[in-house]
């Protein structure tokens, strides 16, 4: 009986090809949207996790300025060279430490200029941030330590200042300091927080301190923790040490913060995950609307085909057979819609992720889920019209004009 209903349903769908297509369009778009949005969201989550993973999960970032300060600008007191030394020598579990000082400055080469972020640091910084040099060379530890006017530039900075010319060996002027480009960093793309990590100029810390800033202040400090140690424990020790060195009373809030990359990673992943869930839910609503569209058309269909139903009942069709026929029709329509929707969703998410530079992180279970859901919608929203058809009185149905 199912087979017969299936044959009849397919015949009816083919007979009204255009209407059938329009009927299933709601499901097509709904399923397509669910798959595309979830896949894109999943790609974003994967990317964020991968980016942060590159930084290493055992990274701490210490920045001056508290998270919730109310006492004003002066509180964001910079760190000193001695703070770095104290952390390095007193805190157990600190592997490497990279002090930085950053400022925005204008870089000029020839007749071109580009406003970018200048970071003075040590060679450790390149390692903990995962920067690779792909043209020229990486400055040695000694070059960084000496504070010579040399720099490595990010891919964006290289493109904006030099275009197709070779930057290595060129002399770039940053504010009043002229420095030699000895390397170009490999492109890293956007960070998990949406910053362009290639729009940078890296210089020795002392060069920036002396020649650009004119002081010995240290901004953010990057600290990698020995992998056998708990980052939380090390973070607490650094916190305690710095509070002590900065003479903060036990009742006061810190005027600096120590952030754990792992926590940031988790926060970001859960944020993008929640966003993916939200987008999927919104798309799910459109799937529901598609189901209501099917119900609507099937109700019209039943009214239009009242005489046909009368003929079938007179000829000896059971009410259950008429019910099954219309139910199968709705389910076949919505499952076709589901298949087309999956195709649409795959194509859309493939192009969207590749144009956004995200990984194509397809979850097979979302395909199964949305296909199953579209079939379920066919059953749910097909039942009411089918029930209406099956309950018709054959005498009245035959009289229907």
């Amino acid at each position: 009986m199912i087979l017969l209903s299936l044959v009849m349903a397919l015949r009816e769908i083919r007979r009204n090809a255009l209407r059938s297509f329009l009927t299933m369009l709601g499901i097509v778009i709904g399923v397509g949207a669910v798959i595309a949005l979830v896949t894109i969201g999943q790609g974003a989550t994967t990317k964020v996790q991968a980016d942060i993973g590159k930084l290493g999960n055992n990274l701490l970032i210490v920045t001056p300025g508290g998270m919730r300060r109310s006492s004003g600008f002066a509180a964001a007191k910079a760190f000193e060279k001695e703070d770095i030394e104290a952390i390095q020598s007193d805190v157990l579990g600190v592997e490497r430490i990279a002090p930085t000082v950053s400022r925005q400055a204008l870089a000029v080469w020839g007749n071109k200029n580009w406003r970018t972020s200048i970071t003075g640091t040590t060679s450790v910084y390149l390692d903990v941030r995962g920067y690779e040099v792909n043209q020229g060379r990486k400055p040695s530890e000694a070059e960084f330590a000496s504070g010579q006017p040399i720099c490595v530039i990010g891919a964006t900075t290289a493109k904006e200042l030099f275009g197709t010319a070779d930057p290595v060996g060129a002399s770039v002027r940053v504010d009043k300091l002229s420095c030699e480009v000895i390397g170009v960093l490999a492109a890293k793309g956007q960070s998990g927080m949406g910053q362009d990590q290639d729009d940078v100029v890296l210089m020795p810390l002392r060069a920036v301190q002396r020649r650009l800033a004119g002081n010995n202040d240290v901004g953010a400090i990057y600290i990698s923790v020995e992998s056998s140690r708990s980052t939380t424990l090390v973070r607490d020790r650094i916190d305690a040490l710095l509070r002590d060195r900065r003479r903060i009373a036990p009742a006061d809030e810190s005027d600096f913060s120590v952030r754990d990359m792992k926590e940031i990673a988790e926060a970001l992943s859960s944020a993008t995950g929640a966003l993916t869930g939200l987008l999927g839910a919104i798309a799910g609503v459109s799937l529901l609307v598609g189901g209501i569209g099917i119900m609507n058309i099937m109700l019209v269909n039943v009214t239009e085909r009242t005489r046909e139903i009368g003929i079938r009942l007179a000829i000896g069709a059971l009410a259950s057979e008429v019910l099954l026929q219309f139910l199968v029709e709705a389910v076949v329509l919505s499952m076709f819609g589901g298949i087309l929707g999956i195709a649409l969703g795959l194509v859309a998410s493939y192009f969207a992720t590749s144009s956004l530079g995200l990984p194509f992180a397809l979850m097979p279970e979302i395909l199964m889920l949305s296909f199953g859901f579209s079939a379920l919608i066919g059953v749910l929203f097909g039942y009411l019209p089918a029930h209406k058809a099956a309950r018709l009185n054959p005498i009245e149905a035959l009289r229907h004009e």
Partner: protein, 249 residues
Amino acid sequence: MSVDYAVVEFESVSKIYGAGDTEVRALDGVDLRIEHGEFVAIMGASGSGKSTAMNIVGCLDVPTGGTFRFRGVDVGALEANERALLRRHYVGFVFQGFNLLARTTALENVELPLAYRHVPARERRERARAALAAVGLENRADHAPSELSGGQQQRVAIARALVSEPSLLLADEPTGNLDSAKKIEIMELLVRLNRTLGITIAMVTHEPDLGAFVSRVITFRDGRVIDPGELPPSRPPTTLAASAPRSAP
């Protein structure tokens, strides 16, 4: 076919719609028998109750009073599904408006009753072709109803009613939508099917001149049979237990 009960048997059947002041007596104590192999015409003005009687004969409706037996079975006691199965296996319908499925070929239309009987596809096709041949439409098997004339459509409908070899072919105004030449064509076809295949036919009509084609005319007026027509040679009374106490008409 040798059976000893009538195809159709009404025993003081009445059908009342509504209740109280709005009560309508569509049938009022009708007694009626149609025997195997008969070709009867049921005549009467509109509102005479003949259509109600036809619906009961076709097991589409049940009486509110009295007993209606189809092949000896008390139909009033059956569930809707059981009546559907009776129709499926024993009744063929021909309607005034042809009532073919649109955009469906003649062959597929004729196959439909067999599909509900779960006849395998190949046998279905063969039997449907044979039925179309019996009504002279073997060359129109692949045409949709819209590509056929009214007379041809009605012949497809007759083929559809025939294909399941019913005990009773029920025709409701089969010539109502046709011109007089086509009328005669259809009537002659029905007469031929009755004589050569021995199919019992009950036909509702309000056209008195069609009485010439049939073996008996039953006339209805105001919900009663006012003339049961000339009875066929008497048969022994039915011995089926289900229809035991009964007075022969």
